[in-house]
């Protein structure tokens, strides 16, 4: 005779549960989203911003300025470096501790606080499949219907 089993536990085992790595990936994505400047595409990406319109001078005098000012494009090409490149470069420019990387504060000594992913109030429970926090059955329902395991889609 087989041992008695709880239906709820059996049910839970069937569900897909995100592993630790996937959860971390999600958390990292969420933090990256907080760093973004724009969420939508450039609405006029196809438009040329600075059209070279022929300029008609008011007078016939020749321009007196010796140096022609360089265009914005020139400086884009001249100093092109990504943030990651710059951080890497900094390791050789300022190799010893007081530098950009070392200035970041360490984690807090205080314990983390958890808030319901749905309503924002303090939460006591964790969603089994994805690890998000919730505070009540109602919020869990909303969470399962909307974001749980759908975030990465």
């Amino acid at each position: 005779m087989s041992a008695r089993e709880s239906g709820r536990v059996k049910e839970a085992e069937k569900r897909r549960v995100l592993d630790d790595a996937a959860r971390k990936r999600r958390a990292r994505k969420a933090i990256e989203a907080l760093e973004q400047d724009n969420f939508h595409e450039d609405p006029h990406a196809d438009l040329v911003m600075s059209k070279k319109v022929p300029k008609f001078a008011d007078s016939n005098e020749k321009p007196t300025r010796k140096k022609k000012s360089k265009s914005a494009e020139y400086y884009k090409m001249r100093f092109r470096k990504t943030f990651a490149q710059l951080v890497e470069e900094d390791a050789s420019f300022r190799p010893d501790p007081p530098n950009y990387l070392s200035a970041q504060v360490p984690p807090s000594q205080f314990p983390d606080r958890y808030f319901c992913a749905v309503c924002g109030f303090p939460s006591n429970y964790t969603c089994i499949p994805c690890g998000a926090r919730y505070c009540s059955v109602r919020c869990l329902g909303t969470h399962l219907d909307t974001r749980c395991l759908k975030w990465t889609a």
Binding site: A27, A30, I31, A33, L34, E35, Q36, D37, N38, F39, H40, D42, P43, H44, L47, M49, K67, S69, K70, A72, E73, Y75, K76, R78, F79, R80, K81, T82, F83, L86, V87, E89, D90, F93, R94, P97, P98, N99, Y100, A103, Q104, V105, P106, P107, S108, Q109, F110, D112, R113, F115, V118, C119, G120, F121, P122, T146, R147
Partner: protein, 394 residues
């Protein structure tokens, strides 16, 4: 050589504070924006005030993570700032003070030096950290020995201790939470809970500015926010701008019949104080870092012990986030509770925290040694960029 005025450019990642030292500073958005309503025209800096419909603005920012990366954008915005349209200047006659982020990368520093001497043909240039200017201003008005400067801006919050006017590099701390994170988080939770506003960074930033406050007792405010009816003194409605009759949204008490409303509204409850709370608990959104008061203590503890007393007595806050109501009091209360009892704690919030560093530039220009901090065009042509690294302590 002693000019009567100098040009000060506090080049922030979101707004630049700019102007001649003899005039009032202008706060100019340091970006180019594109609007959905006017397809033909990009709005550079303050030109956005001329835009009738500011919904769905698209930002092009010169800064990324607090560093100057997109030079073409920056050049366009600078050209605008130095033109007649904004704050005209003749660098042949006027010295320039320009601010840079702390620990600015070497190649960005080089580029700054080059562009101002060669492109804008500055005769006299001072590149400096904004926190240095703020510290100088505070020291000149309070005559103190040590200062802790807290600069809470768009990309970061920096905490910088100064001992006898010199920054103590070992004590510098950075929290990767600034106004941008707050706006993005607010945008995210509002979009999930109520109305999709993911494309409305500009409007939601205004919502944040108009309705958020720093809680003095977070858990107590949470309890208040849970209450229903008139017992809940926190919940408010925010009327969003429609750009026909309302140009900027506003906060209003909750009116019962929500269905009858014509305008689009957002109901703000715990969002009002849990957003600025991220500055005090970045871990609430999973950023594993200390909050501001704890980081202030961490920074002070890294300094020599004999300076601790003076540092705690002179904590200066500035930057956009310090404008949240209750910000100063919260920092004061938390630092007070962390610090040893026999030390005094003073936290200063200037009258105008946005332009505090700019004002500091005005004071440093009056310093009798001002020109010894600067670099001239002749020196640059003579000795090149290497001298800039020696002269400017960035």
């Amino acid at each position: 050589m002693s000019e009567s005025s100098c040009y000060i450019l506090d080049n922030g990642a979101y707004t630049a504070k700019v102007g001649l030292s003899t005039k009032l500073p202008k706060v100019v958005p340091n970006c180019i924006m594109k609007a959905k309503s006017e397809r033909r025209r990009p709005f550079v800096g303050s030109q956005i005030d001329e835009c009738r419909d500011a919904s769905g603005l698209f930002y092009i920012l010169p800064f990324q993570k607090g560093f100057l990366i997109n030079w073409d954008t920056q050049k366009t915005v600078w050209d605008y700032m130095f033109s007649k349209e904004c704050c005209p200047v003749n660098f042949n006659e006027t010295p320039l003070i320009v601010t840079e982020p702390l620990f600015n990368f070497a190649s960005i520093q080089e580029a700054m030096t080059e562009i101002f001497f060669e492109e804008y043909e500055c005769q006299t240039l001072l590149r400096i950290n904004a926190t240095d200017l703020a510290e100088y201003y505070h020291r000149k008005t309070h005559n103190n020995e040590c200062t802790v400067v807290v600069d809470s801006g768009y990309s970061y919050t920096y905490i910088v201790p100064y001992i006898k006017g010199k920054k103590y590099r070992e004590g510098i701390r950075r929290i990767d939470v600034g106004g941008k994170v707050l706006t993005n988080h607010l945008k995210e939770i509002l979009s999930y809970r109520q109305l999709n506003v993911m494309d409305e960074t500009y409007v939601i930033n205004q919502v944040k500015e108009d309705s958020c406050f720093v809680s003095q007792n977070f858990m107590q405010d949470i309890e208040i926010a849970k209450k229903k009816g008139s017992a809940n003194t926190i919940v408010k409605d925010y009327i969003l701008p429609d750009y026909t009759t309302i140009r900027r949204g506003y906060l209003r008490d909750v009116v019962k019949s929500d269905e009858d409303l014509e305008q689009q509204t957002l109901r703000l409850n715990n969002e009002r104080f849990s957003i600025p709370e991220l500055l005090f608990h970045p871990s609430d959104v999973g950023i594993p870092q200390m909050g501001i008061p704890e980081a202030v203590m961490h920074s002070i503890n890294a300094c020599p012990e004999e300076n601790m007393e003076s540092l705690l007595e002179n904590i200066v806050l500035y930057g956009g986030n310090t404008l949240f109501p209750g910000f100063r009091d919260r920092v004061y209360n938390d630092v007070r509770s962390f610090a040893l009892d026999h030390f005094d704690v003073n936290v200063y919030l200037p009258d105008d925290p946005l332009t505090y560093a700019w004002e500091g530039g005005k004071h440093i220009f009056r310093d009798p040694d001002f020109y010894s901090f600067c670099m001239t065009k002749e020196e640059y042509e003579e000795e090149g960029k290497a001298l800039a690294f020696e002269r400017f302590d960035i």
